[in-house]
């Protein structure tokens, strides 16, 4: 019986899986901490091979919330970060944990809700007003509740509106955007999301876009390197290489059409196109 299990282990080992393929180029491992929304958009599935074609690195993409990604950076557990939580990013740079912060791309946060729109969000003229209406009507609102970029922005809007969201109508999932959207769809509730994730899941959801376009809802993505002065053992060279790639003409121009074939419009708008 031990024999059977051992045979199974040896056979699968012999088929070579779990081993890296021998490559003519020697590659260093680079840890990229990024957000689930970036990962789930599929952008990195395209960008990483493009980057690896001309750079001798093997990128390990760790997709967690922005908060956790930046926490990893603060602890030197990654080499480079691609996140979308500008206020937290600025803090990290000011405290010396991150350097070489560059704007990469952006899209927008949007307010979703049931088609019936009981809170009257559609008629709001600003994001704060939309949130005020939701709070006033006590209609259910589903929050990420996980320190992600989306969550941080949501809290910022509540703050601008002068509201502290609490009560049975305010629900925190602690989960990623896709799961949170599903909860909102099931509960016919309002929520804040990035438009890329929404486009990806639109068919499965019973939610409509009820508010968008306010400047406070810009969703900006930045790339940052972990400061080697804090952690000398991070791969700063590799981080710089990936950083340079994100703002390179090749990567930026790729964004102009990424997502068009699936959604009729690109998922991200490049912020570093060459003039």
């Amino acid at each position: 019986m031990i024999g059977l299990v051992a045979v199974l282990a040896i056979v699968t080992m012999a088929t070579g899986c779990g081993e890296k393929k021998t490559e003519p180029v020697e590659r260093t491992e680079l840890i990229l901490a990024t957000t689930t929304s970036t990962q789930d958009s599929g952008l990195l599935d395209e960008w990483v091979p493009m980057f690896e074609e001309n750079n001798p690195y093997s990128v390990k993409v760790i997709a967690v919330g922005s908060g956790q990604a930046m926490e990893m950076g603060r602890n030197g557990e990654c080499d480079v970060m691609l996140v979308h939580s500008p206020s937290e990013e600025e803090k990290m740079v000011a405290e010396g944990y991150a350097i070489d912060r560059n704007a990469v791309m952006h899209n927008n946060f949007i307010v979703l809700g049931p088609a019936s729109d009981p809170a009257g969000v559609k008629s709001a003229t600003s994001a704060e007003e939309a949130f005020k209406k939701i709070a006033a009507s006590q209609q259910p609102f589903i929050s990420r509740g996980d320190d992600s970029g989306t969550h941080t922005r949501e809290l910022k809007v509540w703050k601008e509106a002068g509201i502290e969201p609490q009560g049975t109508w305010y629900v925190e999932t602690g989960k990623g955007m896709a799961d949170t959207l599903r909860v909102a769809s099931e509960r016919k509730a309002y929520t804040l999301t990035d438009d890329a994730t929404y486009l990806n899941l639109k068919e499965d959801l019973e939610l409509e876009v009820l508010f968008e376009g306010d400047k406070i809802l810009y969703n900006n993505y930045h790339v940052m390197d972990v400061n080697p002065e804090k952690y000398p053992d991070v791969d700063y060279e590799g981080a710089q290489a990936f950083n340079d790639f994100c703002i390179s003409p090749e990567a930026q121009e790729f964004l102009l059409t990424f997502g068009e074939d699936r959604f009729g419009r690109p998922l991200f708008i490049p912020d570093a196109l060459p003039e």
């Binding site: 019986m1 059977l4 299990v5 899986c17 590659r27 093997s58 997709a63 799961d179």
Partner: protein
């Protein structure tokens, strides 16, 4: 319901066309689970045997640990293994985080107490006279224990099935210490469970359901094999047929 059927059809399609992505992920899942179960058995069966058959100071404490270990939440195990293996952690110099090794370690931690605990319970249930009889027939200490283990084969295989089933189905630890990574365009630490979570997050319900069905199928097949060994019918049928063919051949030759 239609979605599940579509997922089933997609699963069949992926299997029949030997879809490389799915094949690699499935083989990798089996690889880490087989290794972890193997080491879980290597450590768990002796540990369970010692706890069942010997009395010593601190035994009760150890037994409680093993029994509690059977209910260890995979996500907590993943968290602790992560804390040990991360760069700033005590074992960070090994560089094992976000590699298959980390997943194997977490799974060994999960499987070993299960196998040890069930082995221990099974052996404690056996008639201690079996060991005495083996000794009287000339077996040494280890030999008598092996004899006892052979007698409890059925429970031991149940222990292995429990250990294996627990780790092939877990997702929290694999996600945390493995990272669900692709490396150089190939699945690297992606298991069937973490891939399913990913596809759900990306909105690819059909693929997610297909992966889930494939995982269930693989688990069922492997457990079928183990059950057949356990209940004694895997090899007995072919052996019986072979024997009868052989004896008939000999009769005709005579």
């Amino acid at each position: 319901m239609g979605e599940i059927w579509q997922g089933f059809v997609e699963a069949l399609r992926l299997i029949v066309t030997f879809n490389p992505y799915v094949m690699k992920i499935a083989l990798f899942t089996l690889y880490v689970c087989a290794i972890a179960t193997f080491f879980g058995m290597l450590m768990g069966i002796p540990l369970g045997s010692v706890l069942a058959l010997y009395r010593f100071r601190g035994r009760k404490f150890l037994v409680t640990l093993v029994n509690a270990g059977m209910g260890l939440p995979p996500v907590v195990v993943g968290l602790f293994v992560y804390l040990f293996l991360k760069r700033r952690g005590p074992l960070g110099f090994l560089g094992w985080l976000y590699t298959p090794k980390a997943i194997v370690i977490a799974e060994i931690v999960l499987a070993m107490p299960l196998i040890a605990g069930i082995t221990m319970a099974a052996l404690q249930n056996e008639n201690p006279k079996i060991r005495l009889q083996a000794r009287s027939l000339g077996a040494g200490e280890a030999g008598s224990i092996l004899t006892l283990l052979r007698e409890t084969r059925i429970s031991l295989i149940a222990a292995v099935i429990a250990g294996f089933g627990g780790i092939i189905s877990e997702v929290g630890a694999a996600m945390m210490v493995g990272g669900n990574l692709m490396l150089n365009g190939e699945p690297y630490t992606r298991t069937l469970t973490t891939a399913t979570v990913q596809e759900v997050g990306m909105g690819n319900s059909e693929l997610a359901i297909a992966l889930g069905i494939i995982l269930l199928g693989i688990t069922f097949l492997l457990v079928w094999v183990l059950t057949s060994i356990q209940q004694g019918s895997l090899l007995s049928e072919p052996v019986r047929v072979a024997k009868s063919l052989f004896s008939r051949f000999r009769k005709e030759a005579a």
